[in-house]
């Protein structure tokens, strides 16, 4: 058995990089988090995928030198993804702090030289992603204005010292034309079990697409929807202002929250004991199972989260459940164990133990 110890010191991260999970934001029983990201490229270099190693490293150095003028990232922690082990890169990805592409976990892309992330308390800066720079702010709950304000501030400060590629007609230029213009992707991670159980979800998702929003799974682009968690974001970035895009998202998500609440009321009214039994079974499984796959854990957690929202189960905090979403994933389990887990079977055993302990220490579950 390998005794290799994952090396990443997460205590260096402001708030351990998990403040966005703390369920302190508005509507946090339904909206887990809000993320705003801006895509930017630095003038004078080919975009990341076409750039040579030297260009990527010089661009990173230029950005790092400019950070003395960027108060938003003062005291931020720099991680060079190209110097981290696969488990550590995955850990940062599972924590939603870096994208799959930057972490080099995408089957098409190995980790690039010069791939780096600056993690500050208010915002983060991904360097040498598909675009040179991805500025992002993550907030707990439904907090579009706060997240947007943070990312705007970072953009203003950084853009005054690093020259961005900007076109008079097309706006901020990006490697992929789907991000050009504002470069803004405004998204919320939202839990919609009510709409899934009442079978309304298909209709709702089609409606969202007609309103210019797109949805993905827990881990953004290319990830599948699991545990009824959806990531919603604007589909287009050009031809509308940043304010327009975020106001539109806010309006649509508000309606969606109302529809989810309505669906939950209908569930309790029409399927009272059936739904109650189902959710308690989910809790029972998490509390006592000896082996749990990731998908199982997510689906049962979804049930328990709903039960807490419906006040069927008391004494469990949404924060604990949010943390379980992230900490029950493979790289986190390996990190907690202090060693690399040998296969999925072992990860399933460790996951079940971790979930049991977390729920037991919370002492919830009593009616």
């Amino acid at each position: 058995m390998s005794t290799q110890r994952p090396s990443l010191d997460l205590s260096l991260l402001p708030d351990g990089g998990v403040r966005w999970l703390d369920a302190s934001g508005a509507n946090s029983d339904i909206v887990i988090s809000t993320r705003m990201r801006l895509a930017r490229n630095v003038s004078g270099y080919a975009f990341t995928a076409r750039a040579r190693e030297g260009e990527r490293l010089r661009m990173l150095a230029q950005v790092r030198d400019a950070l003395v003028h960027v108060p938003t990232l003062r005291g931020s922690v720099l991680f060079r993804l190209d110097e981290l082990s696969q488990n550590d890169r995955q850990l940062l990805h599972e924590r939603h702090l870096v994208s799959k592409e930057l972490a080099g976990l995408d089957s098409q892309h190995a980790v690039r030289s010069g791939a780096a992330v600056f993690l500050g308390e208010e915002a983060g800066l991904l360097v040498n992603e598909e675009d040179h720079l991805r500025l992002q702010a993550l907030r707990s709950g439904f907090a579009v204005p706060a997240a947007f304000e943070a990312v705007q501030r970072l953009d203003r400060e950084l853009g005054a010292h690093v020259p961005y590629a900007f076109h008079r007609e097309f706006g901020f230029l990006t490697a992929c034309p789907t991000n050009v213009g504002t470069g803004l992707r405004a998204s919320v991670l939202i839990h919609l079990p009510g709409l899934v159980h009442t079978k309304e979800i298909k209709k709702v998702l089609t409606g969202l697409q007609q309103m210019g929003l797109t949805y993905r799974g827990l881990y953004g682009e290319g990830s599948e929807v699991v545990g009824n968690f959806f990531q919603l974001s604007n589909q287009t970035t050009l031809g509308r202002s940043e304010e327009d895009l975020q106001e539109h998202l806010v309006r649509v998500v508000r309606q969606l929250i109302e529809r989810e609440e309505e669906a939950r009321r209908i569930l309790v009214r029409d399927a009272g004991y059936i739904i109650e039994d189902k959710l308690w079974r989910a809790y029972g499984t998490l509390r006592y199972a000896r082996s749990l796959t990731f998908d199982e854990a997510m689906n049962f957690l979804s049930g328990v989260r709903l039960a807490v929202g419906l006040k069927l189960i008391s004494g469990l905090s949404v924060y604990t459940l949010n943390k379980l979403l992230i900490f029950a994933q493979s790289a986190h389990l390996a990190h907690q164990e202090g060693r690399v887990l040998k296969d999925d079977d072992e990860a399933n055993l460790v996951r079940a133990r971790y979930v049991r302990q977390a729920l037991a220490s919370e002492g919830g579950g009593h009616q």
Partner: protein, 161 residues
């Protein structure tokens, strides 16, 4: 069929070129194909990345408009079609026409109405930096067979040095 260049060996590669005057087919043996810089399927199968190989294969039969390259990074419209990604900010100008249409289809609009931006005047830190940049661009131009661009970059490096 014999190779049209050497008339000695069997032709194993068909090179297809799309020219303004029409399509030109040329049958070559492996050796002459290599001498002309035409990638053959035999050599291509040895590479790992299928997509990249496909790209090289496609380069053999470049349409004229596809051959137009970005003066900064050397990327072509064909590169974009294969990867879905532009090579650099200047590609937006090199392919302005077709991109405008694409952006209209993608976003329903091609005009940015959001935040305006004026880039700060950043002094090149040192001469070394810009020479490094030019050298990287030169290598990329040579790799993607953008020889005119490469010659221009080489001249610029000489001037600085």
């Amino acid at each position: 069929m014999l190779c049209e260049m050497c008339n000695e060996r069997d032709a194993v590669v068909e090179s297809i070129k799309v020219l303004p005057t029409g399509v030109k087919h040329e049958h070559l043996c492996d050796k002459c194909a290599k001498a002309k810089g035409v990638e053959t399927t035999i050599t291509m199968q040895q590479h790992a990345l299928g997509d990249m190989l496909h790209a090289v294969q496609q380069q053999v039969s470049l349409a004229t408009s596809d051959a137009a390259s970005c003066g900064f990074c050397g990327a072509t419209a064909r590169d974009f079609r294969l990867t879905g990604r532009l090579g650099c900010a200047h590609c937006y100008e090199a392919m302005e026409h077709s991109l405008r249409e694409l952006l209209r289809r993608l976003h329903g609009n091609s005009k940015h109405v959001g935040k305006r931006y004026i880039a700060p005047q950043v002094q090149m830190e040192s001469k070394v930096d810009s020479v490094h940049d030019l050298e990287d661009r030169l290598r990329r131009a040579v790799e993607s067979e953008q020889f005119e661009l490469a010659a221009e970059l080489r001249d610029r490096i000489r001037v600085i040095e």
